[in-house]
């Protein structure tokens, strides 16, 4: 596929009041292949949390695009990322989601590697009549050319690329707001939940940042939350959505907004007042003392953050870390965790977990309504009569360049800001996704040309 065909899929003419993405970007297998090669396997992607591998010799496994990856801590405690494949034939070296081991012996022909990825043994080396050419070949696990730990969030790239600070850019302030909530950082609550949906991975990218769908897609959840608030029965979980009406049509003034960053990261946020439905409430004063009330308020606010292309941290009814793993143009795997400040009280943790289960789980009362809509859209993207998606238009006339007064609180300089009321439901923040999408595809296609 030629670059001209790819770039034609994003019609970016905001000066004319127009931005759209061609539906083919969601359905075409050739596009999907380019995305795998040049976005997921061609630049920074999220790998996991440092807290998953706390001790020397710990490892976690994941994938980058189609490539199996292992992140390991060596004997000195240094983290690094490798292709999780024996350099002999390619068999997986580490077999569990997380585990530990000083020495990893391949189960196929017993080549062995230490926790720093070094080859430490080839079975029958002396008797193997190997050539000099073989003996001089690097047998170590293939180290990722780029790996970084930003405040406990681990990133890697299968190609040499810019420093992580450059990739995160101004969005690093958002990771800081998340990480600062815990005295000792963040942890993943035990219990990973994995689900798939029959739609393109970019549906998830968009939905996380989409305020417009909330009252349409989740009326069953919202009505139940409202009923629970009225009834105040014992043993029902109270939700921040029951105490707060930032999404309601009755709410006036600026209730939140969006930010876009030129590396494709975005944030959709809403004011959430402190109340007893906020797990952070118990530490609100302490956090205000340490960081100031304005920055503390940012920690309490609803924040749905995407770090392009595969990490989302959604802090709303509870707090979820999502790793997006595209399987094909029409199928996506979601690996999801409850993410929480280390050291929070039993009561706060319980409230966080209960709200998480009801809202975020594929066995809960909100997420399946999203993912079923994604699958419906995937079917609808076959529409060649109107091939341009009309979902990038809300807020076109009000979006502003640079930061707003709320970003200033964090010292954060996004490329664009949209402070807004409850009913604007900005769609222009998605533009940032597709500009980065094109930019990464372009760099990759030029590199491989």
């Amino acid at each position: 596929m030629r670059w001209e065909e790819v770039s034609a899929l994003v019609d970016d003419r905001v000066t004319d009041g127009w931005f759209s993405v061609h539906r083919r970007a969601f359905t075409d297998a050739a596009i999907f292949d380019l995305e795998m090669r040049h976005i997921f396997e061609g630049g920074w992607v999220f790998l996991g949390m440092a807290s998953q591998v706390p001790n020397p010799h710990d490892y976690l496994t994941t994938t980058v695009g189609r490539v199996p990856i292992v992140v390991m801590r060596d004997g000195e405690g240094k983290l690094d990322a490798f292709v999780n494949a024996c350099t002999h034939k390619g068999a997986l070296i580490c077999h569990k989601r997380t585990g530990s081991g000083r020495l990893h012996v391949c189960r196929y022909h017993s080549w062995s590697f230490d926790s720093a990825g070094q080859s430490v043994g080839v079975k029958g080396l002396r008797d193997g009549a190997y050539s000099d050419a073989f003996m001089q070949t690097d047998r170590n696990l293939s180290r990722l050319p780029a790996f970084a730990d930003y405040r406990g969030f681990l990133f890697g790239s299968l190609v040499p690329t810019c420093p992580i600070e450059e990739h995160l850019g101004e969005a690093r302030h958002l990771l800081d707001v998340a990480a600062d909530q815990g005295e000792d950082g963040l942890e993943l609550v035990p219990g990973e939940v994995v689900f798939t949906y029959d739609g393109n991975w970019k549906m998830q990218l968009e939905n996380c940042a989409d305020a417009y769908h909330f009252t349409s897609t989740h009326p069953s959840y919202l009505q139940l939350i409202e009923k629970r608030r009225r009834e105040e029965k014992k043993n029902v979980v109270k939700s921040v959505w029951g105490e707060n009406s930032a999404w309601s049509e009755m709410t006036e003034g600026i209730t939140g907004g969006t930010y876009g960053f030129d590396q494709g990261h975005v944030l959709n946020w809403q004011v959430i007042p402190l109340s007893d439905t906020v797990p952070l409430a118990e530490r609100a004063e302490l956090l205000a003392e340490r960081y100031g009330a304005a920055r503390r308020d940012w920690m309490v606010n609803m924040r749905n953050m995407t770090i392009f292309p595969n990490l989302q941290v959604a802090e709303n009814a509870s707090s979820q870390l999502r790793i997006i793993r595209p399987l094909s143009a029409g199928k996506t795997e979601m690996r999801t965790f409850c993410i929480a400040p280390k050291g929070e009280s039993d009561g706060a943790r319980r409230m966080r977990i209960r709200n998480y289960e009801d809202f975020f789980n594929p066995t809960g009362m909100a997420t399946p309504d999203d993912t079923v809509c994604y699958a419906d859209c995937q079917d609808g993207h076959a529409n060649a009569l109107q091939p341009w998606i009309l979902g990038y238009a809300r807020g076109m006339e009000s979006v502003q360049d640079g930061p707003d007064q709320f970003a200033d609180v964090l010292g954060m300089k996004p490329d664009r800001s949209q402070p807004c009321g409850s009913q604007l439901c900005d769609e222009t923040l998605f533009h940032s996704y597709y500009r980065a999408w094109l930019s990464r595809l372009k760099v990759g296609m030029e590199r491989s040309a």
Binding site: K96, P190, G191, K233, T363
Partner: protein, 159 residues
């Protein structure tokens, strides 16, 4: 003590109520203060076992929470259950393990009418049962879902 016949009847009735979408019938099998729990998996080998510090797929105490879930799928407001998926529960290997505890294995075949796809959730049930008058009721149900890689949705009536 709980008797083998009434245990078998109760478990079959629960499966039948769910497959027939006899929600009132299903709810009537539970005590008011029942617990209903489907753990998540901590790792490859172990389900989570402390619902206050670890994540569950579903964790409720009190029948009113189950009533909420029933209301949601009946309401028509949840697109995940419009149209409602068809189910056939199979419950077998029913064993009374203690004075009030029962284990069973289950498979629930689910047909997604809209997408014309099929899936089978399977795993084990663990029950704690009590008599309320003459009726044997479910005081606690734990669902251990073995295939927890979930295709889009796993609602209570598919488990």
């Amino acid at each position: 003590m709980i008797g083998r016949d009434e245990v078998h009847d109760l478990l079959a009735r629960e499966a039948l109520c769910l497959d027939r979408r006899d929600w009132d019938g299903w709810l009537s099998l539970y005590t008011d203060d029942c617990s209903y729990w489907m753990p998540a998996w901590r790792d490859e080998e172990n389900p989570t076992d402390n619902p206050d510090r670890e994540l569950s797929l579903i964790w409720y105490q009190g029948k009113h929470n189950l009533e909420d879930r029933v209301w949601r799928v009946k309401s028509g407001l949840s697109i995940a259950s419009v149209p409602m998926l068809r189910t056939a529960h199979q419950v077998s290997a029913i064993l009374i393990e203690g004075p009030d505890t029962v284990s069973a294995s289950f498979a629930c075949h689910v047909h997604n009418v809209k997408r014309r796809t099929d899936h089978c959730f399977f795993g084990r049930y663990e029950y704690r049962l009590v008599h309320e008058g003459d009726a044997l009721k479910i005081a606690a149900k734990k669902i251990l879902l073995m295939n927890d890689n979930i295709p889009t949705v796993a609602d209570f009536y598919m488990l």
